[in-house]
């Protein structure tokens, strides 16, 4: 980073940072929106599943991603409510609420989303078996497991990072209240 900057350079940096933060947040939501749209397009225009089991699978898959989008938007809303001009204890409490919310998301909610999505995916398998040969079906199901494992690894890393931050915020809170 540069040092001893004039005010106009700070303004430029602030605007760049704001744009970059907004872009990152919107990118996460946009990717999820694209995935759900791609799934819907596939289900409605290409696959046109007939089995009731497949329809439940479609709803579970799309529903779990829509739930994830709602959580991302709620997360952005919580993050925006953190006001750095509040008193240190109040600000720390706002950040604590944000990370506690994230902790809840990473716990039961994310696991539920992954389970719903996976169950939904495997519910499509019986109808897929009418279209694809067995070897391809096995390949699809196994590659899903691999993708889920990679995805879980990244989620676990993110959880660890955020839990470290959460513990630090709790420690700061205790320190702030100490006499």
């Amino acid at each position: 980073m540069q040092n001893s900057l004039d005010s106009s350079t700070i303004i430029k940096l602030a605007e760049q940072k704001k744009r970059s933060t907004t872009r990152t947040q919107l990118a996460n939501v946009s990717i999820l929106v694209v995935v759900v749209l791609a799934l819907l397009a596939y289900f409605l225009l290409v696959a046109k599943f007939q089995f009731t089991l497949s329809h439940i699978g479609e709803v579970l898959m799309c529903g779990s991603i829509l739930l994830r989008i709602a959580i991302e938007l709620a997360s952005m809303f919580y993050a925006k409510r953190i006001d750095l001009s509040e008193a240190a204890l109040k600000n720390n409490d706002s950040i604590l609420r944000y990370y506690s919310f994230r902790k809840k998301i990473h716990g039961t909610v994310t696991i539920t989303i992954i389970i719903f999505y996976s169950v939904g995916f495997y519910m499509l398998t019986p109808e897929f078996s009418h279209w694809f040969p067995l070897w391809l079906l096995i390949l699809i199901d196994l590659s899903y497991i691999l993708a889920a494992l990679i995805f879980s690894y990244f989620i676990r890393s993110a959880i660890r990072r955020e839990m470290t931050a959460l513990n630090e915020i709790k420690r700061l809170r205790e320190d702030l209240l100490e006499q």
Partner: protein
């Protein structure tokens, strides 16, 4: 932008930057244990946050208290976000300490080194005390009661004195 025009936002920010940059940098120096480069980096982060928060300034407190609050919160966030820098080395105390041609710098370096041995929140509080901020105002910035703060400042001063005595 909460009724503030872009031009007014910029003018007000420039005034605040000119007026309070030295004060913020001083706080950051104490927080970063006298490490000049990290202090400037942090001061820059503080003013980025000031720019972003300025349209929401309601005038419930003075600009000075408001900027102190942003500084304290930015300092606490900075180390949390850059945990790898949490163990900042205390800035070259040994070199300055033995330099007899610059006794004032040596004393200042000793003070920063002693402040650097305090926990992070104590460092922020003592920097405000050294900047002669009123205790009630510090309590407002930290969001704790005045009574609590006074007890704490007494303890911080005692610890700081011990660290300074040990350094001599």
């Amino acid at each position: 932008m909460n009724g503030m025009s872009s031009r007014a936002h910029k003018i007000q920010f420039e005034e605040l930057y000119q007026q309070y940059h030295p004060m913020v940098l001083q706080m950051c120096r104490g927080y970063m244990k006298g490490h000049e480069e990290l202090a400037k980096d942090l001061a820059q982060e503080v003013f980025i946050n000031v720019w972003n928060a300025l349209p929401g300034f309601k005038g419930n407190s003075s600009h000075k208290t408001w900027i102190y609050r942003i500084t304290v919160n930015s300092c606490l966030n900075y180390l949390r976000n850059k945990k790898e820098q949490a163990n900042i080395p205390i800035e070259t105390i040994e070199q300055n300490h033995t330099d007899d041609s610059q006794p004032l710098e040596s004393e200042i370096a000793k003070l920063y080194a002693a402040i650097g041995l305090l926990p992070e929140i104590d460092r922020l509080i003592i920097m405000m005390v050294l900047n002669e901020i009123d205790y009630d105002e510090i309590a407002q910035v930290m969001g704790v009661s005045s009574g609590n703060l006074r007890v704490r400042i007494h303890r911080i001063k005692k610890n700081l004195k011990n660290h300074l005595n040990n350094a001599n």
